[in-house]
C-alpha cells in the first residue's frame, strides 16, 4: 500500500498547535508516510460555520476538497474538527446536487472529491498497523500511565467516522499501549470538553474541562493523549478562568499522539514540541529512564 496523501494541515497546526504540525511531519517521515501539502488550502470553518450557516459549513471545506480532487490522492488531516468538517461536507456535496453546483460556482472548481478523507490516527492504526508501530519503538515508556482522550468530534457522527465505536473507541488505546505506555481505563474518552465555547463561555467550559482532569486523575493517569488541537488547547487553557492571572489546578499534561509516537521512537525535536505546552510535561517524563 502506498502511503502518500494530500495533507491538509489545518490552521491550528501552523499556529497555536505548531507542535502538532511539526510532530506530525516528523512522525510521518519516519514511518514512510508521504505528505503533499494541499496547495493554498483554507480554513474549514470549524464549528462556527456549521453552527451558523449550512452553506458556509459545506463550502469552506468544499474548496479544500476541490483542490484535493486535483491531486488524485486521499486527503489526510490531523485535526478532529477539520476531519469532521471535511468528511461531512464531502458526504453532503455528493448527495445534494444543488449544493454542489452552488459551491462549484463560488469556488470555481468541482468539489466532488473522489478520494477518502483520512485522519492520521486512522492511517497509523489501520494502514501502518500496530505491529509495525511496535517495531519502531525505541524508548521504554512503560513507567507512564496514560488515558486516551478522543473528544467528541473524532467519533461522531457515527456513520462517517473511522473509529470502531462512538462510545468506546479503541484506536488510540491500542496505539498508546503499542507505544509501551500503560493505558488506564476511564469513561471520559469521548466526553465533550466544550471547545467551541472556549472563548465565549469559559464558565461552562471550565466545568467540563475540570471534570475531565478529575476523572483522569482518579483513573491514575500521568498523561492525557489526544488527537485534536481544539481539545488540547481547551484542556490546557480552561481549567480555571482568570483575567489577569492564568491558573492551573491540574498538572496532568496533555500531549498529541504524534508527540508520543515521536517520543517513543526517539525522534529529533521532541524537546521543542513538548516545550510548547502550557502544562509542563517534563516533570512526568522524568519517570522515563531512557530520557533522563
Amino acid at each position: 500500500m502506498s502511503l502518500k496523501y494530500a495533507y491538509f494541515p489545518g490552521c491550528s497546526q501552523v499556529s497555536s498547535a505548531e507542535e502538532y504540525g511539526l510532530s506530525t511531519e516528523a512522525v510521518c517521515e519516519s514511518l514512510g508516510i508521504e505528505l503533499v501539502e494541499l496547495d493554498d488550502w483554507n480554513c474549514c470553518g470549524a464549528s462556527s460555520a456549521h453552527m451558523t450557516d449550512e452553506f458556509l459549513s459545506a463550502a469552506l471545506p468544499g474548496r479544500n476538497l476541490a483542490i484535493a480532487r486535483e491531486t488524485g490522492l486521499d486527503l489526510l488531516t490531523v485535526c478532529a474538527a477539520c476531519y469532521s468538517r471535511l468528511t461531512m461536507s464531502n458526504a453532503k456535496i455528493k448527495s445534494d446536487d444543488a449544493l454542489r453546483e452552488r459551491i462549484e460556482r463560488a469556488v470555481g472548481a468541482d468539489p466532488r472529491f473522489e478520494g477518502k478523507v483520512r485522519h492520521l490516527l486512522d492511517v497509523i492504526v489501520n494502514d501502518v498497523g500496530i505491529p509495525q508501530i511496535k517495531k519502531f519503538v525505541k524508548n521504554d515508556l512503560s513507567s507512564i500511565k496514560a488515558v486516551p482522550y478522543y473528544g467528541c468530534l473524532l467519533v461522531r457522527p457515527r456513520e462517517v467516522c473511522f473509529c470502531d465505536s462512538a462510545e468506546n473507541p479503541t484506536e488510540l488505546d491500542l496505539l498508546i499501549s503499542a507505544l509501551g505506555l500503560e493505558v488506564r481505563q476511564w469513561s471520559y474518552k469521548t466526553d465533550c470538553c466544550g471547545g467551541s465555547l472556549s472563548l465565549s463561555r469559559n464558565d461552562i467550559v471550565q466545568r467540563l474541562v475540570n471534570r475531565i482532569f478529575e476523572r483522569a486523575v482518579e483513573a491514575g493517569a500521568d498523561l492525557i493523549v489526544t488527537a485534536c488541537p481544539m481539545c488540547l488547547a481547551n484542556l490546557e487553557m480552561r481549567q480555571k478562568p482568570g483575567k489577569l492571572r492564568f491558573e492551573q489546578v491540574f498538572t496532568v499534561p496533555v500531549l498529541y499522539f504524534t508527540e508520543l509516537i515521536g517520543l517513543a521512537m526517539g525522534l529529533d525535536g521532541w524537546e521543542k514540541w513538548l516545550g510548547a505546552h502550557l502544562i509542563d510535561p517534563f516533570p512526568v517524563l522524568k519517570k522515563i529512564e531512557a530520557l533522563s
Binding site: 465505536s165 462512538a166 462510545e167 468506546n168 488506564r184 481505563q185 476511564w186 469513561s187 471520559y188 476523572r215 482518579e218 483513573a219 491514575g220
Partner: protein, 1055 residues
C-alpha cells in the same frame, strides 16, 4: 380449515367432514420453553402423540432461568419444574433434545419433518444424573444456564431440575472429541453412559401438525454502547441479574458486584435497552421488562433490606392483571424509586468501579448519582429468523413469526402454528394461553385421528390385599456410588430384613433402570408382596415410575412408599458416612411403618356429559363455542342480549388493522349456522349444579335485556317468577365463562361528559370515523384524555387496551383529517408489544402528546361557546397548555360487569377485588379455575384486545375439549374422606376448602366430601376435631406411625 384434507359439508342441518386423506394423530412442538411444554401437555391430554424438540440439552427455556415471576413472585422453578417432570414422564410425549428442524414438507395433516440430532455423547437411558463425570472434567466453559456468570465442566447435567436429567457433553472444547486425548469422564461414569462415538444424525418424522414455540433471544446490549456492557463489569443484563437473584444461581442469591464481590446496595435499572429504539431497528416494546425490573427490584430488597433500587424508564408499562398494584407496592412498600428519564450513558468511576449516572428528576433538577450495579432491562428479540427462513414461514419486520389470519395462530404455512414469545414479546401467562390455543388449533385439524397414536397401557387386574397381613418388599438402591459411596447399603438391607412385615429385602445398583422394573415385578409376584418400599432418591421424580411398576405387578399403585436416602441423606451427609447409614436405616424404618398401614385407594371415576355450556356471546364466547362444536361437542351458548357480538359490535377496526365488522359477522354466521351450537339469546343461566363432567344448568329468558349494565335489574330478572316456557334445563360436562366486561361510563360531568355534546368517548369517535366521517368535517382541534376511569382510586388497575385504541383512532383521524391537531393527554403511553409502532405512527403523523399526572388532571370548561382544556405538561416543568378543542375524546377504561358477582357465586369461583374473575394460577393456569371443569375466556379475566380475547377463548376451549373428549374422569386417590359415623357435623372443615369440595348434608347432619372436587391438600382433615375427616394416604394413623418411627431410636435410648 384446510380444504385439502377435509371440508365441512352442511346438508339439512347435518354436518359432515370429508377427508381426502386421514391426518396423522401426532404433533411436533419445536421449542421446549414454557409455551412448548404447555402445548405438549395439552396435546397429549387431547389425545395426540407429541414430539417435543429443543435445540438445548434440556427443556425449560427462559422461565427455567428465572428466579421469581411477576406479579405474584412465585418461584419460577417451583412452578415450572413439575410441568417439566410431567412432560418428561408422559408416555405420549417424546422429548428430543439437541436437535434442529431442517425442513418440513407435505400437507397439513400429513407433514414430514426432517430433523437433525446433534450428538449428546451420553446415553439418556443409562445416565442417572449422578454428576460424577462432572467432577472429573477439567475443561470449563461459561454456563449458559447461569447466563455465562459461572464456569462449568463440559460434561454436566444442564441444571439441577433439567429434563431429561441426564448429562451431555459440550463438544466444542472436549479434549477427547477434538484430540482423542482425555476420556476421563468415561472412565469414571459408573453407569457406562458415555459414548464418544455418538454421531450427528438425521431423522424423518411424520406428523399431522407442527407448533413453533422457539421463544426469543434477549437483546444483546453490546449494541447499545453508551451503557458500557462488556466494558464495565458492574453493568449486567436483566437475565444475568435474574441468575444472581436465584438461590441456585452463581452467587447463591447474594447480590454482589461483579468487580469485587462486595454486596451491592444501590442498583439502577435502565429500561428499554434494545426496545423502542429506532437506531437499532427495534421499534416495538418488549412488553415484559418494565414489570420484570420491578420484580427484580422487589426481590433484591427482600434479599437485603439495605438495597435501594431506581428504575429509569420512559413510559411505565404495567398493562396486565395486577401489574399496576404491583408497581405501587414496589414504590410504597419496597422503596423502589421510579425516574422518568432515560439515562444517556453509564460512566465507570475509578478506582471504585461504581457507576455514575446523570439524569433529571421529576423536579427537573440534574442529579449525578453513583450506583453499585446497573441492570440493563434488555428487550425480547426474535431468535428464529434462520429457522423461519429455512421453513419458509413468514415473519414480521422484526423477525417474529406472523399469523396472517386475525382469529388464528396459524402461520403462513398451513398446518403449522405458533405460540409464545416466538410470535411476539409476551409474558408467561400470555405464552401459556397461546400454547393451549395452538394445541387446540392443531387438535381441530387432527381430531379425526385423536387417540390413534397415543399409547394406553394395559394393566392386569388388581389383586385384593385388604385384610392380608403386610408382606413388604424393601429395595435399597445404591445409585451407583451416589448412595453406596456414603451409606453402608448392605447394613441397611440387613436392618430392613429385621423389620416387622418385611419379607424381602435386597439392594440394587440402579433401582430405576428398565431391567430393575422387570425384576421388581418378578419379586412382587414371586414373594407375594403386597407392599413395596424403595429406598433411593426423591419421590418427586421417581415415585410415578415405581407406582407404575407396582401397578403392572397387579397391586394398587398406592401400596408403595419411598424413602429418600439420596437427596436427603447420602448427598447431604457425605462427610459422616456412619451417621448417614444410621439415618438411612431410620428413613427405611419410617417408610416401612407407613407401608404396613397403606391401603389400596380408589381413583374415582365419573362419567362425562360431552356437552359444553358457554356463558357470554362476545368474541370470546363465540370462539370457544365454535372450537368446541368443531371438535364435535354439542355446545350451548348463552347470551343475555338480543344479539351476539358483545363489545366487538362497537369496534370497526382491530388494533392490527383488520376489519372488525367483517370478522364479527363471519363469526356470528358460523355460530348461528353451526349445527352443534345452540344459541340462547336474551337468556341467562339461572342455576348451575354439579361438578366436572356432569353439570346441570337452567337457562332462562331475561325479562329485561336492556338492564345488562344495571345489576339491580339483572337480579330482578332472575327472580322466582320466570315464565315456564322460557326455561331450558341442560346437562353439560364443562362451563366456559366468557361474560366479558364493559366500557367505563364517565360520571355525569366528569370532564364535562354529558354536559357538552362535544365531549365523547373513544367508542363514539370510532363510530363517527368509520360510519359518519362527514360529521367530523371542519374539526380542527381534537383532544384525547387517557385513563378515564382507570388507574385511580376507584379502579386502580390499567385497562390495557385504551392506549392502543386511542392511538388507532388518532391515526385514523389523521389519515382522514391530516390538517387537524390531535393532542393526546396521557399518563404513560402503554403501547405494549407491536402497538409501539402505532405510537410511532401517530408521532410520524404529527399527533401531539402531553403528559399529566393523576394529581393534576386536565381541566375542562366551556366559555363563550367553546370548550377549553387546560393541561399541565409534566415534561415541560408543569407548564400549562390551553387548547380549545372541537372534540374532547375520553379514553374510558374497562370495568367488570355488574352481573359477574352473581355468576361467580353461582359457580363458586372467586373474583378479584376489581370484579374480574380470578384464575386458578396467575402464571400457569390463566384460563382455568381452581374448580375443575370451569374455564375462563376473554375480558371476563381482564381487559384484552380482540385477538387476545380470542386466543384465550381457544385456549379455554382446548382445555374443555380435553375434558369432554374423555369418556370418564379419573380423580386422585388421595382425597379427604369423612366417616359419617364419626362426623359430629360441626362443619369446621367446610369453609377451609379452597375448592368447594365440602358440603354440609343437612339430612344426615354431617359434612361430605365430593371426591371429584377434592385436591387432597388435607387442610380440612387437620381441622377435624373428631377425626372423622381423614386424608387418604396421609391418615393420622399413618403419619403417627411415621412420627413414631422417626423417634423410635430415641425411645430405645431412653430405656
Amino acid at each position: 380449515m384446510n380444504g385439502k384434507i377435509y371440508e365441512t359439508q352442511t346438508e339439512g342441518g347435518k354436518s359432515e367432514r370429508v377427508y381426502s386423506s386421514k391426518p396423522v394423530g401426532s404433533v411436533m412442538v419445536i421449542g421446549g420453553g414454557i409455551a412448548g411444554v404447555q402445548a405438549s401437555l395439552d396435546l397429549a391430554d387431547l389425545g395426540y402423540r407429541v414430539y417435543l424438540v429443543d435445540s438445548a440439552p434440556s427443556i425449560g427455556g427462559v422461565m427455567g432461568q428465572l428466579d421469581k415471576t411477576f406479579p405474584t413472585n412465585d418461584c419460577s422453578m417451583c412452578i415450572l419444574s413439575p410441568k417439566l417432570v410431567e412432560a418428561g414422564s408422559n408416555d405420549n410425549i417424546e422429548i428430543i433434545t439437541l436437535a434442529e428442524i431442517m425442513d418440513i414438507t407435505g400437507e397439513p395433516g400429513n407433514l414430514e419433518v426432517i430433523l437433525k440430532r446433534n450428538p449428546r455423547f451420553v446415553d439418556i437411558d443409562k445416565c442417572t444424573g449422578c454428576g460424577i463425570c462432572t467432577e472429573h472434567c477439567r475443561v470449563k466453559v461459561k454456563d449458559p444456564y447461569n447466563a455465562g456468570l459461572a464456569r462449568v465442566p463440559l460434561i454436566r447435567v444442564p441444571f439441577p431440575q433439567a429434563v431429561p436429567g441426564a448429562a451431555f457433553i459440550d463438544p466444542t472444547k472436549c479434549l477427547q472429541i477434538l484430540k482423542g486425548k482425555c476420556g476421563e469422564c468415561q472412565k469414571y461414569c459408573p453407569a457406562g453412559a458415555i459414548d464418544f462415538s455418538d454421531k450427528e444424525r438425521t431423522d424423518k418424522i411424520e406428523v399431522g401438525s407442527v407448533i413453533i414455540a422457539c421463544g426469543f433471544s434477549p437483546f444483546d446490549p453490546h449494541k447499545t454502547e453508551e451503557y458500557g456492557y462488556g466494558t464495565y463489569e458492574n453493568v449486567i443484563t436483566s437475565l444475568e441479574f435474574e441468575r444472581i437473584l436465584a438461590a441456585n444461581g452463581p452467587t447463591g442469591g447474594h447480590i454482589l458486584r461483579r468487580s469485587d464481590s462486595q454486596s451491592a446496595q444501590k442498583i439502577a435499572f435502565i429500561q428499554c435497552v434494545g426496545s423502542r429504539d429506532s437506531r437499532i431497528g427495534n421499534t416495538y416494546c418488549s412488553s415484559v421488562c418494565c414489570m420484570y425490573a420491578t420484580k427484580q427490584a422487589i426481590i433484591a430488597r427482600e434479599h437485603d433490606r439495605r438495597i435501594q433500587s431506581t428504575i429509569f424508564y420512559i413510559d411505565f408499562r404495567a398493562h396486565g392483571k395486577g401489574f399496576e398494584e404491583y408497581r405501587s407496592r414496589a414504590e410504597n412498600e419496597h422503596g423502589v424509586r421510579y425516574v422518568r428519564c432515560l439515562v444517556s450513558a453509564v460512566k465507570e468511576m475509578q478506582p471504585s468501579k461504581r457507576l455514575l449516572l446523570v439524569f433529571i428528576n421529576e423536579e427537573n433538577q440534574f442529579v449525578e448519582e453513583e450506583f453499585d450495579l446497573v441492570v440493563l432491562s434488555v428487550g425480547i428479540t426474535s431468535g428464529i429468523d434462520a429457522l423461519a427462513t429455512r421453513l419458509g414461514i413468514r415473519v414480521n419486520s422484526h423477525g417474529f413469526i406472523q399469523v396472517p389470519k386475525p382469529a388464528s395462530l396459524e402461520t403462513s404455512r398451513p398446518g403449522v402454528y405458533v405460540c409464545g414469545a416466538a410470535e411476539g414479546p409476551k409474558d408467561i401467562p400470555e405464552s401459556v394461553i397461546q400454547a393451549s390455543a395452538a394445541a387446540g388449533s392443531a387438535s381441530s385439524l387432527l381430531c379425526p385421528s385423536r387417540g390413534e397414536l397415543t399409547v394406553k397401557r394395559e394393566y392386569p387386574p388388581e389383586r385384593d390385599v385388604r385384610g392380608d397381613e403386610p408382606r413388604i418388599g424393601a429395595i435399597i438402591c445404591r445409585c451407583g456410588t451416589n448412595i453406596g459411596g456414603v451409606v453402608d447399603v448392605p447394613a441397611v438391607v440387613e436392618y430392613a430384613r429385621t423389620l416387622p412385615g418385611v419379607v424381602f429385602a435386597e439392594e440394587r445398583l440402579y433401582a430405576c433402570s428398565q431391567d430393575a422394573q422387570v425384576w421388581i415385578k418378578e419379586i412382587i409376584e414371586k414373594h407375594k408382596l403386597n407392599r413395596l418400599v424403595v429406598a433411593s432418591c426423591t419421590p418427586r421424580t421417581h415415585q410415578p415410575l415405581f407406582r407404575e411398576t407396582v401397578r403392572l405387578a397387579g397391586l394398587n399403585k398406592y401400596l408403595f412408599e419411598m424413602a429418600n436416602i439420596r437427596e436427603h441423606c447420602s448427598w447431604v451427609h457425605m462427610d459422616e458416612p456412619g451417621l448417614a447409614t444410621e439415618k438411612a436405616k431410620q428413613l427405611v424404618l419410617i417408610a416401612v411403618k407407613k407401608a404396613s398401614l397403606l391401603e389400596p385407594l380408589e381413583e374415582g371415576v365419573s362419567p362425562v356429559t360431552p356437552v359444553a355450556l358457554v356463558i357470554g356471546g362476545g368474541p370470546a364466547g363465540m370462539s370457544a363455542a365454535l372450537r368446541l362444536a368443531d371438535a364435535g361437542f354439542k355446545t350451548h351458548l348463552v347470551e343475555q342480549e338480543e344479539e351476539l357480538g358483545g363489545n366487538m359490535r362497537h369496534v370497526r377496526m382491530t388494533l392490527e388493522g383488520d376489519n372488525a365488522r367483517e370478522i364479527l359477522e363471519e363469526m356470528i354466521r358460523s355460530v348461528m349456522n353451526h349445527p352443534l351450537v345452540e344459541v340462547h339469546l336474551t337468556s341467562k343461566v339461572a342455576s348451575i349444579e354439579g361438578y366436572v363432567g356432569s353439570y346441570t344448568s337452567v337457562i332462562e329468558k331475561c325479562a329485561n335485556s336492556a338492564g345488562r349494565s344495571n345489576p339491580d335489574i339483572e337480579s330482578a330478572s332472575l327472580g322466582d317468577d320466570v315464565s315456564e316456557d322460557g326455561t331450558v334445563r341442560v346437562d353439560h360436562g364443562i362451563v366456559v365463562v366468557a361474560v366479558g366486561a364493559e366500557e367505563y361510563r364517565p360520571k355525569y360531568g366528569e370532564y364535562m361528559y354529558g354536559l357538552d355534546q362535544r365531549v365523547i368517548t373513544q367508542t363514539e369517535l370510532e363510530r363517527r370515523i368509520f360510519d359518519e366521517p362527514e360529521s367530523l368535517e371542519g374539526v380542527k382541534n381534537v383532544v384525547m384524555v387517557q385513563c378515564v376511569g382507570s388507574r385511580n382510586e376507584e379502579h386502580p388497575y390499567c385497562s390495557r387496551i385504551c392506549c392502543g385504541v386511542t392511538l388507532k383512532n388518532a391515526c385514523e383521524l389523521k389519515k382522514f383529517l391530516p390538517g387537524a391537531n390531535v393532542t393526546i393527554c396521557y399518563r404513560d403511553v402503554r403501547a405494549y408489544g407491536f402497538n409501539e409502532e402505532k405510537y410511532l405512527d401517530a408521532r410520524e403523523r404529527g399527533v401531539r402528546f402531553v403528559r399529566f399526572t393523576q394529581e393534576d388532571q386536565p381541566s375542562v370548561s366551556a366559555a363563550i361557546g367553546r370548550l377549553e382544556v387546560v393541561v399541565k405538561d409534566r415534561n415541560m416543568r408543569d407548564e400549562a397548555i390551553t387548547i380549545f378543542p372541537d372534540l374532547l375524546v375520553l379514553s374510558c377504561g374497562i370495568v367488570a360487569r355488574g352481573g359477574s358477582r352473581e355468576l361467580a357465586s353461582m359457580l363458586k369461583v372467586p373474583l378479584t377485588s376489581d370484579g374480574f374473575f380470578l384464575e386458578a394460577h396467575v402464571k400457569l393456569r390463566p384460563i382455568e379455575f381452581a374448580t375443575d371443569g370451569i374455564f375462563l375466556a376473554g375480558m371476563a379475566h381482564y381487559p384484552k384486545t380482540i385477538r387476545e380475547s380470542i386466543a384465550s377463548a381457544q385456549a379455554a376451549a382446548a382445555k374443555a375439549e380435553a375434558v369432554l373428549s374423555k369418556d370418564k374422569i379419573v380423580t386422585e386417590g388421595i382425597v379427604a374422606r369423612i366417616d359419617p359415623e364419626i362426623c359430629s357435623g360441626c362443619g369446621q372443615c367446610i369453609d377451609l376448602c379452597s375448592y368447594g369440595a365440602l358440603e354440609f348434608d343437612p339430612s344426615m347432619r354431617v359434612a361430605r366430601v365430593n371426591p371429584s372436587l377434592c385436591k387432597g391438600c388435607g387442610a380440612c382433615s387437620a381441622a377435624c376435631p373428631s377425626g372423622a375427616n381423614q386424608l387418604l394416604g396421609f391418615r393420622p394413623c399413618q403419619i403417627y406411625a411415621q412420627i413414631e418411627a422417626s423417634c423410635a431410636l430415641l425411645e430405645a435410648g431412653g430405656q
